[in-house]
Symmetry: C2
């Protein structure tokens, strides 16, 4: 099957208005008056961001879900995306149908279309890259840079399950071995993270700054601290670990080190955000309406020096961590 | 140097308004009223789209120029781009400064800024991907699908030099060896193709359909034929070959085969477009104003069956070609 047939068979059905059935090299997007566009782009490399040889639906869907998480953190609605696929020569083309099915599932779950992109071959690992266009009412995008001194720090959902899911998917032993339901929850947390798009209206209304947790809670908190030129203090005992992940950590020789590992691994794709202290009630009501767990885990304070994130234990002592998150270089 | 320092040192200076100094995961773009957006995305794989190990300015600049050519074919003005870089572990980070300089040169030549993107590592070949946002007055985008029966077919500039430039850059012998100025012209045609952005107003005014020549004249003509459901007939003897490339072809054992090779290799990044027959005068005047060579090379006719592109020789005989252009699969 040549490039054009492959695109026409598997990708063209995913294209919406403006994508010209993928018969063109470009797409058209007619912006709605009164909206700003949010642009974001993220890539996956085989063997780095997904397991070697995993060319099917899982990988495609996770690429889109993680990009959608970037839009969720900006309080934006997804409109569509462009996709580049560098398909390995060693990967059978038969996997392409599954890959396209993963794209379709994510599109149907979150209501957006494919605008375009390109498909090429590579001798090396698979590299895929998505660029998303989102929209947000003019002037209402939530950034990382407007956290205010005195704000509360919040986190959505629970943390830690994605790390164990990643270990499972990449064949790394988890000891003690999780029971069936926990294993399924770990795998699902890693492969199908839930972009918190439904919370976008509440974010616009209440949040001062937001980031999604892709590199680890502490690392992403630091992104907000740095961009906002503030300090962030987190209360370690308030951090909402996924119960099964916490059970795993507590069964380790050094439970504290294991908990910290869960916080610095990343891949949770929950949101960390800051909001004025008097917004708690409104936030909790909005979260409750969308069935979302929301936890206040810290506060924003003045930074007299380089902005930093610290974590304090139940006794109020500042904790020291060896590393704060994932970096690529 | 870690990922964040690399981005802050080399890429942040390339970011414009809306890019947040690349401190955020997303960019904001405020669309101007009365304009549609044109979206396009293209990737380069090391060893496929550029020579192995060529990690510097040339490759970065060519990636942007070839993407700009897609916007030029749509009669759009570039606004900005997002860039994904999968940087090989074996490539020294010292090349990153040169790579960024190539991005900067293209940005300065064509007046657009960097919105964002991501930078990751790979064990395999380098893979880079750019997504461009262009703008065009509402409803005035030129597509591939509106060529009309009776239209003339035009091409900008000259063809063929890029193939010989590619051979030179990838170390393939060119026989007979070109003289100095010809070699420089070949190399330049391949590494620094000129996106025909200055011709966009004329395209909006006169053209019915347009494509840029990335896969080869015949292949890209076929894209227009297929999308417009028409036949395209080209006059072989009117095709404007680059003089030095034509000299090379005429010195080969089979000059005709060599000329056809020049037409089916691609990488010229000129524009092929269709326009009503009574638009010749206006088109030639507009081209002359921007110093652009413009050649009428054929015409559009009715397609009773599957749309096709044919080429006829000086005697009016239809020519048969073994392949029509580059395909990735």
């Amino acid at each position: 099957m040549d490039e054009f047939s492959l695109i026409q068979t598997y990708l063209a059905p995913l294209a919406g208005a403006g994508g010209f059935g993928l018969l063109d090299d470009a797409a058209i997007y007619k912006p709605r008056g009164g909206f700003d566009l949010v642009l974001t782009k993220d890539s996956f490399v085989e063997g780095v961001h997904f397991a070697k040889g995993r060319y099917g639906a899982d990988t495609a869907e996770r690429l889109l879900r993680t990009n959608l998480s970037d839009l969720a953190a900006k309080a934006a609605r997804p409109a569509g995306y462009l996709l580049s696929i560098a398909w390995p020569n060693r990967a059978d083309i038969k996997f392409f149908a599954g890959f396209a099915a993963g794209l379709r599932d994510a599109q149907q779950s979150y209501d957006f279309t494919l605008f375009g992109g390109d498909t090429v071959r590579t001798d090396g690992p698979m590299v895929i890259s998505a660029t998303f266009i989102g929209e947000v009412p003019s002037g209402q995008m939530v950034t990382r840079s407007a956290a205010q001194i005195g704000d509360d720090v919040w986190v959505t959902g629970t943390l830690g399950a994605a790390m164990l899911g990643c270990h499972y998917v990449t064949g790394k032993a988890i000891i003690p071995p999780p029971t069936g339901p926990a294993l399924w929850a770990f795998e699902n947390a890693y492969l199908r993270p839930e972009p918190r798009l439904l919370f976008r209206k509440a974010l616009r209304q209440y949040a001062s700054a937001c980031a999604d947790i892709s590199d680890g809670l502490l690392s992403d908190a630091r992104h907000i601290a740095k961009a906002s030129a503030v300090n962030i203090m987190l209360n370690f005992n308030r951090i909402p670990f996924a119960p099964d992940a916490k059970d795993w950590a507590l069964a380790q020789d050094d439970p504290l080190a294991a908990l910290i590992e869960l916080l610095t691994f990343g891949d949770d794709y929950e949101l960390i955000f800051t909001a004025p202290a008097n917004m708690s009630e409104g936030l909790l009501a909005a979260a409750s309406k969308t069935g979302l767990r929301l936890t206040k885990i810290g506060h924003v304070s003045e930074s007299s020096d380089a902005p930093k994130v610290t974590c304090q234990d139940a006794q109020g002592n500042v904790m020291i961590f060896p590393k704060t998150g994932y970096t690529h270089f």
